[in-house]
Amino acid sequence: MTAKNLYLDINVLQTVPSSNLNRDDTGAPKTALYGGVTRARVSSQSWKRAVRSTFREDNVNVGTRTKEAAQLLVNELKQQDTTLEDDVAWAKTDAAFKAAGVKLNKEHETGALLLISRGQLEKLAQYLLANDDLDKKEIKKVLKGDQSLDLALFGRMVADNPELNVDAAAQVAHAISTHEVVPEYDYFTALDDLQGEDETGAAMLGSIEYNSSTLYRYANVNVNELVHNLNAEDAVHGVADFIKDFLLSMPTGKQNTFANKTLPSYVLITLRPDTPVNLVSAFEKPVDSRDGYVAASIDRLEAEYQTTQQFVDTPRLNVVLGKADSQIGEVATNLADLLSKVTGSLTEAIQDEDTNA
């Protein structure tokens, strides 16, 4: 057999008060049926976008998703060579995109969104300034190398030129509530402050649908693929950045209306040598409680972890944050401790892999 697998599972329980994080075309919070009852749901694409935005705030090496990649390249060219004329920069850029096989329209925009990283723009500009004759292979190499973390984790699809596609190393499931939710409606009226004494009634009325939930959130990373997309060292840092920003980010839907930004109550991170395991099955039977959902959900999740262990290999590492007396793994005292435990074990696993190879 070839190299061993290395998967990182991230399980999070997070309670969210009245909120509408991610809404459908009617403005209602998204839901899903599971175990025969309605659950609150936050889509994976929505939470991935929140993670990408947090990467940007944290200055993690992150790409830009845009139709205006050509403009970015022109800016970069002019930054590297301040004497460069506009039309020369555009000519070089057009030639580069042509060589890469990505079409630009009249407004110099790509047909679909292109995810491009800082490093790729820099290298591409350097190459264009140094060479007048463009080698297609070199350009493609630049566009596949120096991937930003979000590109390596979440993948890239270029409709025009699939050779530039990158398959994602991470998998993010839709977050669902561990329990049944019943939609609630907030009926509101707005009054005109300058309404005359002789007038009555509201100037506007409406309603907002919302719910509150304890969410089970799950993501995994195929560490070998992340190393394939980046390199060993960047992959280890990348995993730590991803864990941190996956834990701390939240989609911003109706954030100003509900001020619902919470932090996870419980985190379970497992580094496995065989297969990723999504423990959502713990909540197929919805949690039923008159005394809050978090504690009951933690117990369910830990029990499910134990049950699934009968069917899979012993993990390399299992760390718990948020339950000091947890029996199922090492207990981390805080987020920094959790991250250092994970990076330590990851580095060790990748080194083992190298010496075996």
Binding site: L33, Y34, G36, E163, D167, Q171, A173, H174, D274, V280
Partner: protein, 241 residues
């Protein structure tokens, strides 16, 4: 023939039948190409790997143990600052499917079994975000076709679903499930051609050919009413004459 069964379940699954950008629909049960894609991912074949095509030769059948409720996911894509596109993706919620694949090549089936337990790439149920719930349940059967296995295998729906079924059909000692299989397994049945034969998963050139599909129903015991005698519901007044 050696056969493997997989129990496919997750809050959301999706089996695209005709992909267009703005609206992506789902069939009511797993397509063979989706399962082939999953097996290829487990074996570590990348999208342009020629070995994927050989997986079309696997014998395939699927049984709907717990039908999914459709969900249309509404998703916005922001092209550039301020310009958004609206898209719709269909999913099946809360479903349980029993998939069976088989082959005379026993060594290959063993390799697939091990690969599904140690997948090289993540497995998913039609869409990347649809991660299987819990550890994937796989079972091995020697010397049986996928169809024969599914005709015998006990009903695999979730507990709540079986309870609800029994509550709504208090007399039902059996349950009848739909099966969809390679037409070769059901030679006497009407067959339809579906665009579900993998020709290429390559993003450059994604292609599907046609494959013949036939359907059958199977009646299995309802495990919750095992040993309960069916109450006679037939009323025949002439019997007293």
């Amino acid at each position: 023939m050696k056969t493997l069964t997989l129990r496919l379940t997750a809050p959301l699954q999706s089996y695209g039948n005709q992909a267009t950008f703005e609206r992506r629909t789902s069939g009511d049960f797993p397509s063979k190409s989706a399962v082939i894609g999953m097996i290829a991912a487990a074996l570590g074949y990348r999208r342009d790997d020629d070995r994927i095509l050989a997986l079309n030769d696997l014998v395939f059948a699927v049984r709907v143990d717990q039908g999914g409720k459709p969900l249309t996911e509404f998703q916005t894509v922001e092209w550039k600052q301020g310009t958004r596109k609206l898209t719709h993706r269909d999913y099946l919620q809360d479903a349980v499917f029993m998939v069976a694949v088989g082959s005379e090549d026993e060594a290959m089936m063993t390799r697939i079994y091990e690969a599904l337990q140690h997948p090289k790439f993540q497995l998913f149920l039609g869409r990347r975000a649809s991660v299987p719930a819990g550890v994937l349940q796989i079972r091995e059967f020697a010397d049986q076709t996928p169809l024969a296995v599914l005709k015998e295998l006990a009903w695999q729906a979730s507990d709540w679903y079986q309870k609800r079924y029994t509550k709504w059909h208090p007399q039902a000692t059996t349950v009848t499930l739909d099966m969809y299989a390679d037409a070769a397994l059901l030679p006497n049945k009407h067959q339809v051609m579906v665009r579900d034969r993998v020709e290429s998963f390559d993003q450059r050139d994604r292609r599907y050919g046609f494959r013949p599909l036939a359907t059958e129903r199977v009646t299995l015991p309802n495990p919750l009413l095992k040993g309960v005698d069916q109450v006679a519901t037939e009323h025949d007044p002439f019997s007293v004459l």
